[in-house]
């Protein structure tokens, strides 16, 4: 079975701006998280989801943690649950900083998209290096990645798991020629219409 690559031009977008331009409390973040989950459930979003911060001037780290720290924490517990790709868009420098701190504390990573492409937020250097290599490889397997980085296949698999958990990497599953399942991976493309930053 091969998953269909999500159409990057048509993401399900959740606009965080609906909650204000300065986002402070954990209570508000809980509301935002519930709404995000409801939006995704209603849209039966299994493709690309853009969590868009356009118009949000600043958010506290507590808000970021209760909203997206928890969301990415939930995603990381189930690799196969939808959505396939989650991209943070419209992050200004201040919100990027808040997200970085929040994700690093939870040892999580996320993918963000801007006009320059897709990159990781909160990732250690080794995972950033892996993501760059993944982008260069196109569609690849763990063995390809291991060869490219000069690391063992189990090590490559561990890194890929973290990236799939963050919905930063699309995982395709198929039945191998010799039986059993086989995964291949590719990095997502940024949505066709990128929002401008606040």
């Amino acid at each position: 079975m091969t998953q269909v690559k999500p159409d990057p031009a048509l993401p399900t977008t959740y606009a965080v701006r609906r909650h204000g331009t300065f986002l402070a409390t954990r209570a508000l973040a809980k509301t935002a998280l519930r709404e995000l989950e409801d939006t995704l459930a209603a849209a039966t979003a299994d493709g690309t989801v853009a969590i868009d911060f356009t118009g949000v001037v600043a958010m506290s780290i507590s808000f970021a943690d209760e909203f997206l720290g928890r969301y990415y924490g939930m995603l990381s517990t189930s690799l196969d649950a939808p959505p396939a790709v989650v991209l943070l868009t419209g992050l200004n420098d201040d919100n990027f900083e808040s997200m970085t701190v929040c994700l690093q504390r939870r040892e999580l990573v996320a993918a963000m998209a801007n006009a320059e492409g897709v990159r990781l937020v909160g990732a250690p250097a080794v995972l950033n290096q892996t993501y760059h290599a993944a982008g260069d490889l196109g569609r690849f397997t763990a063995v390809h990645l291991a060869d490219r980085l000069g690391i063992s296949a189990p090590n490559a698999n561990n890194r890929l798991k973290r990236l799939v958990a963050a919905r930063a990497l699309i995982r395709h599953r198929r039945v191998a020629e010799r039986g059993g399942k086989e995964f291949s991976y590719e990095t997502p493309s940024p949505p066709a219409a990128m929002p401008s930053v606040a």
Binding site: H19, G20, T21, F22, L23, A24, T25, R26, A27, L28, V57, A58, S60, I61, S62, F63, D65, D94, V101, R105, R106
Partner: protein
């Protein structure tokens, strides 16, 4: 129980000093004597209203003696102190009629804080910083204010026991440094009892230690991965400006001066307060 019956609010910023001038006696009355008050800021205003509100909730009679200084008295009126106290206290002194001008880009009058309005207050203060300060300092101020507001509504039981906020931006005409002052006072659980809700903090025996620990990243009264608010506040302040945080709870006060490094002083004080008071000033470096 021995309660404070007279708090003497005299001079400049009396509630930013370590010791509060107070008299104790077994009485059903609380007198807030501001006759000799010469200069007040958000900390004094919010504390006056929180003390009065808390005493009134306890069934005590409250008296506010208005400042002799007309400018200070006028400022207390302008910042809603008199309006908020009028239903629960006897106001002793001359009141003037005032024509209100919208100054929402420079000040936030004393306002009751609740879970329902916390984010709209934070939004207003974020905009205030944006309009008055450089971008970096405005962001630093917002991050600090946001964490203090979140603490008050999450741990301070704002809304049930009474919590109040106020803020004032200033241009720096006299000090040469534009800045923003914010205060939030609540009559909630207080820092020590809050931290001790987490069994890992059960060893904390006094308010001074509790304040010291509360400033350390990851120390929390919950059993979740939290407790970064005050530490984040100080980090944000250092990134975007210079600042000072004064935190008072129970029988202790902590003062943190944030420049290149943090200078933290904590001490026990004679007059305990209920709940927690926080005052933050962020200025352009």
């Amino acid at each position: 129980m021995l309660d404070v019956v007279l708090i003497d609010l005299s001079g400049r910023h009396p509630l930013l000093r370590s010791e509060i001038s107070a008299s104790f006696i077994d009485s059903d009355q609380l007198v807030l004597d501001a006759r000799r008050l010469r200069f007040a800021g958000p900390q004094e205003l919010t504390a006056i209203v929180t003390l009065a509100s808390s005493a009134s909730t306890d069934g005590r009679d409250v008296v506010l003696r208005m400042p002799d200084d007309e400018d200070v008295a006028s400022y207390l009126q302008r910042m809603n102190v008199v309006d908020l106290l009028a239903p629960i206290a006897t106001i002793d002194g001359t009141l003037t009629s005032q024509r209100r001008v919208d100054c929402s880009t420079k000040l936030l009058e004393v306002t009751a804080l609740s879970p329902g309005n916390a984010d709209s207050i934070a939004e207003s203060l974020g905009r205030m910083g944006e309009s008055q300060l450089s971008n970096r300092t405005a962001m630093a101020a917002f991050h600090g204010i946001a964490e203090l507001i979140d603490n008050a509504v999450t741990h301070g039981r704002a809304g049930s026991s009474g919590a109040f906020v106020a803020a004032q931006a200033y241009s720096g005409l006299t000090s040469k440094r534009p800045g923003l002052e914010f205060a939030v006072c609540d009559a909630g659980i207080g820092v020590l009892p809050h931290l001790r809700q987490n069994p890992t903090n059960a060893y904390i025996a006094d308010d001074e230690t509790a304040l010291r620990r509360a400033l350390v990243a990851g120390v929390t009264g919950t059993q979740q991965m939290r407790g970064y608010g005050l530490s984040d506040l100080l980090d944000a302040t250092r990134r975007g400006g210079v600042g000072r945080l004064v935190l008072r709870s129970g029988s202790a006060i902590a003062s943190v001066v944030v420049r290149q490094k943090r200078i933290i002083t904590c001490r026990n004080v004679t007059t305990p307060i209920r709940g927690a008071w926080a005052w933050l000033r962020v200025r352009v470096p």
